[in-house]
Symmetry: C2
Subunit: 175 residues, 2 copies
DNA sequence: ACGCCCCCATATAACGGTTAGCTTGATCTA
DNA sequence: TAGATCAAGCTAACCGTTATATGGGGGCGT
């Protein structure tokens, strides 16, 4: 998980790694299961090295397993405030599929249009899954919202693939 | 750039790093300028270490700068064929924004609805840019196709943000 | 002729996200 | 009591990405 996300979760209250991981999983619903177990620990140690969090080797609390409790430093608080206030959005990652088509056509490895078609079928499958998941979730839940976003994305990508197909068929008859 | 992409470009013909980079940039149009210059060399050395490409220290050709020409090994050809045939699609990356909202609300760092609004304005700006870019490109060019995909994505994300706003306002009045 | 700048071409260190896999103890259960 | 499962944590390693460095060569103005 992105460092800032972990940092922001830690801003609510100091936690140990496992609790943090559980909170993240809860906030994502069924999609949280995709997270890798070790991810949090990697991120936490890196945050510590960067001086954004501190550990307290707490045998002070009566917590059974000899514990590492993580909390934010002043720098950490500053960083998370900064992150919350900044607007950023992941750049669309369509380039690699496009390059796959270009490369496949150039090296005569496969028919681009067949590739687009296969991709369309795959996205259709995922779209059905996402829509089924939306309905399976309780109305208005976090998970339902996320699945809805995924479905909207997939629909947009489907329409792009249609545009790709048109473009490549034109290109084939045109050359 | 992803290793497989570089590999696939190399499948067309053996090249040296710089040519490869130029070919990639051409295939992406104006978006290709975002590529980092050194990226290709990092990827190529890693591919070499993995045994998927080989270098030929060619002073054999009358090429001025003492040259490293890269070409695919048998394993490399196999790998690229595999890649072309596999259907994969980047997983939608909506989780981090969702977690930003959750964390901001939980730690009372900011008003989630204000965050959604700021994001909406930003995406609207980018959408206008993308649509302008579509029209600036020659009809049917690679770059126009890519920009169209980006625009479609952004529209989908906008609609998701609207759903987010609805959901969080409901949640606020409901708690 | 000299200095300057830009392009070709390559390389490298380092950061950050992700994964696979390991350990160790506790708890459950057949 | 042996085996399975789970909590809790850790590590090595891969890959994508960036910033930055290094030279050689060609044009160009003064």
């Amino acid at each position: 998980m992105q460092q800032e996300v972990v940092l922001a979760m830690l801003a609510k209250e100091a936690s140990r790694g496992y609790q943090l991981r559980a909170r993240l999983r809860d906030a994502l619903g069924p999609l949280g299961d995709d997270m890798n177990a070790g991810q949090i620990y990697v991120t936490l140690t890196r945050l510590e090295k960067a001086g954004l969090v501190t550990v307290e080797e707490s045998a002070t609390r009566a917590e059974r397993p000899d514990g590492k409790v993580y909390s934010l430093t002043a720098d950490g608080h500053h960083r998370v405030a900064e992150w919350v206030s900044e607007v950023s959005w992941p750049r669309p990652d369509l380039a690699v599929f496009h390059l796959k088509l270009v490369a496949a056509a150039a090296a005569r490895l496969a028919d681009p249009i067949a590739l687009v078609d296969a991709q369309r079928r795959e996205l259709l499958r995922r779209l059905r899954d996402a829509q089924r998941a939306v309905m399976a979730e309780p109305e208005g839940s976090d998970a339902a919202l996320l699945y809805e976003g995924i479905a909207l994305r997939l629909q947009a990508d489907m329409r792009w693939l249609e545009a790709c197909e048109k473009s490549w068929t034109r290109r084939r008859s045109g050359s």
